[in-house]
């Protein structure tokens, strides 16, 4: 029990490896993907990654987040697209179990080879949201109110660009992706 608590997202200790000072990969996060496999935040280390947060039962904004990520991908060349990865982390550990995320991935025809929908514990959610400067709040109804941020991470986990734009590919994000 104590060990399990220690193994969740921890700030008291983090890897002092060679990542740059601004790398989000310093965070020891615990994610579980839609296939039930555990990862750190660096699940796609070595690739450019579009990372964002969402929750599965959201009716309005979250389908738009997926659409926005797709529009952004489509604006790239096939070679750039093949290199890109997408990481969507859920705010909602209670309802967005790996099984629930698996169902969403099926419904939305998510490409599991390049996209990860991730379940995270409460502490990981809080820390990742803080790193992305993303605001969220669980409402008494169980829904979430949240801001939308899509960030582009470098191969080593540094934020290279961020956007709050929904429904279209942000030109600044695309410029950073094509770099």
């Amino acid at each position: 029990m104590i060990l399990a608590a220690l193994m969740t997202c921890s700030l008291a200790a983090f890897a002092a490896d060679g990542d740059p000072p601004a790398s989000l990969y310093h965070l020891q996060a615990k994610l579980i993907d839609q296939a039930g496999v555990a990862h750190g935040l660096d699940v796609y280390r070595g690739h450019p990654v579009l990372v964002t947060m969402f929750y599965g039962s959201c009716q309005a904004t979250c389908p738009m987040i997926i659409d926005t990520l797709r529009v952004t991908e489509r604006a790239l060349t096939p070679a750039q697209r093949a290199e890109l990865r997408v990481l969507m982390i859920s705010f909602d550990p209670r309802r967005d179990t790996p099984a629930a995320l698996h169902a969403i991935a099926g419904e939305r025809r998510i490409d599991g080879a390049r996209w990860t929908l991730a379940h995270a514990d409460e502490a990981t959610v809080r820390n990742v949201a803080a790193l992305l400067n993303l605001q969220y709040r669980r409402l008494p109804s169980g829904e979430f109110s949240h801001s939308t941020v899509i960030s582009l991470l470098s191969a080593r986990g540094e934020i290279e660009a961020s956007t709050a734009a929904l429904g279209h590919a942000d030109p600044a994000l695309l410029a950073a992706l094509r770099d």
Binding site: S10, A12, S23, A60, Q135, R137, L139, S145, A164
Partner: protein
């Protein structure tokens, strides 16, 4: 007689042990607070489960012991993603506060650093509604906020010119819960920093004009005449989790 002495010694020992625990954190019973940040549209009261909170803010000396045990949080080792360039810059060295400041509240610590400190104590940062509940108290009342004299006393602190050394922790008088320095010393981090500026109404989230929700929290604030609390929210919401400030400290809760 001998046996009675023994019992008395055990009792004294227990009292000392209880006193040591009581010295660090004060229990706060479950309760509700008419909150300045409505949890949802039309809901003006937040329910707060029982918790305990450090009686005084974390001091430089406390934080130096943490850094000694967790050297990855030294100012020359903590990655910038967790703490900006101002992190502990007022200390004499990477491991020691300036002479004479051990009892002053630690400042220039980021939300990530403060969270890590509390985690290392088996605790966490207080949540906003917990903090709001504790901060509503004066010496004799759990909720003194309707008293204009109490409000004025807090506002007088904000009006005082900044600068000069910070007073030591624990100089303020204990409030109703036995917690000191809630007002008048430093601003304090809260665990749910990332919720401060989000509207309680998720119907607003599709509105493109609100974008990153800037200002939407402020639009739905209650008690608009409670300037002291509004200032605290404004201060917290201006901070990102890696930021540090000469006036932002923290304490832990459990």
């Amino acid at each position: 007689m001998k046996i009675r002495w023994h019992v008395a010694l055990v009792a004294a020992g227990l009292a000392v042990a209880a006193g040591a625990a009581a010295a660090t954190r004060a229990p706060v019973p479950a309760g509700s607070i008419a909150t300045i940040l409505p949890p949802a549209p039309g809901v003006k009261v937040a329910n707060v489960a029982a918790f305990s909170m450090d009686r005084v803010p974390v001091s430089n000396g406390d934080y130096a012991r943490f850094v000694a045990a967790h050297p990855e949080w030294r100012r020359d080792r903590a990655p910038r993603v967790f703490a900006d360039g101002g992190y502990l810059q007022h200390w004499a060295s990477a491991t020691s506060p300036a002479p004479g400041t051990a009892q002053q509240p630690v400042t220039r610590v980021s939300w990530f650093a403060a969270s890590a400190y509390c985690e290392a104590q088996g605790a966490r940062l207080p949540r906003w509604y917990e903090w709001e509940r504790v901060s509503a108290a004066d010496r004799t009342r759990a909720d003194a906020r309707s008293d204009p004299a109490w409000r004025q006393r807090i506002l007088d602190w904000y009006a005082r010119p900044a600068g000069g050394p910070l007073p030591d922790v624990g100089r303020g008088e204990p409030n109703y819960f036995g917690i000191r320095d809630v007002h008048g010393l430093v601003w304090e981090w809260v665990e749910d920093l990332g919720s401060m500026m989000v509207s309680g109404d998720n119907r607003e989230q599709g509105d493109p004009d609100l974008k990153k929700f800037c200002g939407s929290g402020a639009l739905s604030l209650e008690q608009k005449d409670n300037y002291a609390m509004l200032m605290r929210i404004a201060t917290l919401s201006s901070m990102q989790a890696s930021y540090t400030s000469t006036t932002m400290g923290f304490r832990c809760a459990k």
